[in-house]
Symmetry: C2
Subunit: 150 residues, 2 copies
């Protein structure tokens, strides 16, 4: 039985391993233990912020997926709240089993229950499978996502 | 002399007027006074959140631009903080005068001073002028931005 909950500090090694197990993440992350301090500091900042929800999907005791939701207040659209979903991963041995869809349905419900009128995310132009997945969930790829490294 | 500062409640009518004075915003916003309660509630939520910075550009006493920065903690990229810029507008009679560039340089400095290693934003695929503007500032349009209305 797959369930979803807020991530705890003890989930961090499994979460970082999933972030690293990805063609783009492999060059950017470091899943070696003990985890780099940056991951611990980031977890503390996320966990302390009432507008952040780092979540895991678990099957029994095993962490099999993760995503992060940020609840964003903004003036646009008459002061609409938005839910922003980032850092979505499913464990390698559990991919293509519908878990991503379940995670997203859960995440969208979290956004709805927080009063968001819009859910948004960006994904790398190179992730063609992801594009089909998000379009299947009713998302529209109406925007270009720009990034600048400092 | 153009300066930049955190927005105050008294700036709200000017900010909402700029959000509405835009081909996309015109259908989504309502700048009539008194402002709809949604704008006041959103301003209170933004102003109370230490990871949100709603800013205005001012020339003397006149508000001539606005943008919103959200500082996002995340595990990705070894726990990097990101600055996300949204709701960027320059007053209609002051466009094409370089104010947008000054606003962005100021906003990127804010992100740097908060320790962000990345600045991100999305813009509608239809805003061709904006694409050139962001590329000129060193942004790379590497992502697709998906949205889903709830």
């Amino acid at each position: 039985m797959i369930t979803f909950r807020r991530a705890q500090a003890s989930d961090l090694p499994a979460i970082v391993a999933m972030l690293a197990d990805d063609p783009l993440g492999a060059t950017r992350e470091d899943a070696s233990l003990p985890l780099a301090q940056g991951y611990l500091d980031a977890f503390a900042a996320i966990d302390a912020d009432p507008n952040q929800l780092l979540a895991v999907a678990v099957d029994g005791a095993e962490v099999i997926g993760t995503l992060q939701i940020t609840f964003l207040a903004g003036l646009s659209r008459k002061g609409a709240w938005r839910g922003q979903i980032e850092a979505v991963r499913v464990a390698g041995h559990r991919r293509s089993g519908g878990i991503g869809r379940l995670m997203f349905e859960w995440a969208i419900d979290q956004c709805r229950s927080r009063g968001c009128s819009l859910v948004q995310l960006t994904t790398d132009k190179g992730r063609a499978d992801a594009h089909r997945f998000y379009e299947g969930l009713g998302f529209t790829g109406s925007h270009i996502g720009y990034k600048k490294t400092l």
